[in-house]
């Protein structure tokens, strides 16, 4: 098991290098010269050259790519063109904000999603079920940015209960971003929970558990939910990535100074070092989160653990282990 985790951690390194190459290449061919953008169109060639050297954006594609990758291996994400400070420092400050909001959102999403998913599955084809599935369908159909704006409209403009923007002064500022992000996830989690619970409740081992004389709720919680969790955990893992991306929109709406807003501002200002840093950070965090999810799997589903352990012995490719999820 430990060997598997180490293998997965090592795999993150080539992923990050690959992501860097992809993002670097895309941005390299983007229109707009950061030097002229920073110095104005009338800047002298010498000044432009000096700026490029300072920012490390002089030379050919390969020279710059090499420099970027070397920097990455040393844990240096380059210098922000705008603020002339190391991107990494900027990111760490902002990541705390994004992480805080995302963490609360996913907790909200998991609690709401699993709770209503179970209720909906157990009360299949009742009014409660229709109500919950209907709401979930609305939840996944609502664009996150619009949902955020509607929250502002209701709770700030009409009711005046919550501040419409900002972060860090009061817990009240967290409420709407967390709801905007979390409700979306909860809708997806709810739908998966429902279908997974319906599937599991039909299985023979549920009948066995009932035949043992176990009470209804213990059958649901002890036998059904643990089995139903397997696909739910997959979806939660996927939602973590969606959540990080969703924070871009949410932070833009609620003017929260997190990674998402930093990314949008950097893209608009053609601050490519910062953009690259943001994408890398998000890719890195998603990879770690995916690994955590996969480890959680093995605790829920013992069959996965056997698979990983036998993969160790027979050198099965990792892909084989994953594709059977």
């Amino acid at each position: 098991m430990l060997k598997y985790i180490i293998k997965r951690l090592l795999w993150i390194i080539p992923v990050l290098i690959g992501v860097t190459v992809i993002v670097f290449t895309i941005l390299y061919f983007s229109p707009g010269d950061p030097a002229y953008l920073a110095l104005g169109d009338n800047a002298t060639p010498e000044a432009v050259e000096a700026y490029r050297v300072e920012m490390g954006i002089n030379g050919t594609y390969w020279e710059r790519l090499g420099r970027t990758l070397l920097g990455l291996l040393k844990g240096d994400l380059g210098i922000s063109y705008r603020s002339r400070t190391p991107v990494l420092d900027e990111l760490i400050v902002r990541f705390k904000v994004t992480f805080n909001i995302s963490a609360w959102s996913i907790i909200l999403g998991i609690l709401l999603g699993i709770f209503f998913g179970i209720i909906s599955a157990l009360k299949q084809n009742t009014v409660w079920d229709s109500l919950a599935t209907g709401c979930a369908l609305f939840g996944i159909s609502m664009p996150m940015f619009w949902q955020g704006l509607m929250l502002i409209l209701i709770f700030s403009v009409w009711l005046g209960w919550l501040p419409a923007s900002g972060y860090g002064d009061s817990w009240k500022q967290m409420v709407m971003p967390v709801i905007a992000l979390g409700v979306n996830s909860s809708a997806t989690i709810m739908r998966t929970t429902r279908s997974s619970m319906l599937e599991v409740m039909r299985q023979d081992y549920i009948r066995t558990a009932k035949a043992k004389g176990q009470s209804y709720w213990m059958v649901v919680l002890r036998h059904a939910l643990r089995n139903a969790m397997i696909p739910i955990v997959t979806v939660i893992g996927l939602q973590l990535g969606v959540l990080l991306a969703g924070s871009i929109v949410t932070e833009a709406i609620f003017s929260v100074a997190g990674v998402g807003k930093y990314l949008v501002d950097s893209l608009n200002a053609r601050d490519y070092a910062a953009v690259q840093g943001c994408v890398l950070l998000i890719a890195f965090v998603s990879a770690i989160l995916n690994l955590i999810v996969d480890v959680i799997y093995t605790y829920i589903d013992p069959r996965m653990k056997t698979m990983y352990e036998s993969a160790k012995v027979f050198h099965l490719p990792k892909k084989g282990a994953k594709s059977s999820v």
């Binding site: 159909s141 940015f145 991306a245 929109v249």
Partner: protein
């Protein structure tokens, strides 16, 4: 003949799901609106008139007018063209690219590892981020927005298609086709794809909903379609400034997005229920 009866069987099952039928009707309605926008819209999408700026919804302007005096209803009607074409074409791009890569990966074991590792790399970047970077690099226009949204979900489709082809190619009828000497591409086009198509259709319908949301989110953030084009996300973004005084400018375009996406999701769910054999009771 056989194909016909299969389609009517699917339709018979689909029809039982009333939500899905309503969703389909809504989609057809929006397609008609988009096609006949010129005939339906009372005004042009960029008819500015300062004298009638910011009129709240009333009889003459059912959805009100914006800060430049443009009729919101007309802009919404023209805007349906953007959302629908982006949804359709972006998914078309990802189905074609992803489908091609997925089939190749499933069929040529030597290329499988390379292609799927590359897809893993792209999957490591959240879709929205990737689309933002691509659209920045290409410059913002309708076509580039479609391309960005489409390409960013290529890896997802490559995975879906690969998995489904891998599952199909193990089946006996493919063996049989090979035994009578059919070539690789013949097998792929005539035997494997038709059998993977149902899961692909379901995925595509749901992806269309996702694509519309992503595209409007990109426009909302200023990366997609720019003013004065009446794209719904861009309209929302422009109306946002007036949320305290003219809330309808943000409420209405968002509702339009939601209705279309909701319809697509319901239809997608309905299709999955009647196409996916695993869910058959």
């Amino acid at each position: 003949m056989k194909k016909h009866s299969m389609l009517s069987e699917i339709w018979r099952r689909f029809r039982k799901n009333h939500h899905a039928v309503v969703g389909l009707a809504v989609l057809v309605l929006f397609v008609l609106i988009a096609v006949f926008a010129e005939q339906l819209a009372p005004f042009g999408y960029d008819d500015q008139d300062a004298s009638r700026a910011m009129i709240a919804p009333c009889m003459e302007y059912p959805f009100g007018t914006d800060n430049l005096g443009r009729d919101v209803l007309s802009r919404l009607i023209y805007g349906s063209r953007y959302s629908l074409s982006i949804g359709f074409l972006a998914v078309g791009i990802s189905v074609l690219t992803g489908g091609f890569l997925g089939v190749i990966a499933a069929y040529y074991p030597k290329l499988d590892n390379i292609i799927m590792r590359c897809m893993d790399l792209f999957m490591a970047i959240p879709q929205m981020l990737l689309a933002m970077c691509i659209v920045t690099a290409l410059g913002s226009s309708l076509f580039n927005l479609m391309l960005a949204v489409g390409l960013s979900s290529t890896p997802k489709f490559a995975r879906v298609v690969r998995a489904s082809v891998l599952a199909t190619r193990e089946q006996e009828f493919v063996e049989a086709a090979r035994a009578i000497g059919a070539g690789n591409w013949r097998i792929i086009l005539h035997h494997i794809l038709p059998n993977s198509i149902s899961s692909l259709i379901v995925q595509a319908t749901l992806a269309m909903a996702g694509a519309i949301i992503s595209a409007s989110a990109l426009s909302f953030l200023g990366f997609g379609i720019q003013a004065p084009m009446p794209e719904w996300g861009a309209m929302l973004s422009a109306g946002r400034k007036y949320i305290r005084t003219q809330a309808y400018l943000t409420v209405i375009p968002g509702l339009a997005i939601m209705v279309v996406v909701y319809a697509l999701n319901v239809v997608g769910d309905g299709l999955r229920d009647c196409l996916d054999p695993r869910l058959k009771k």
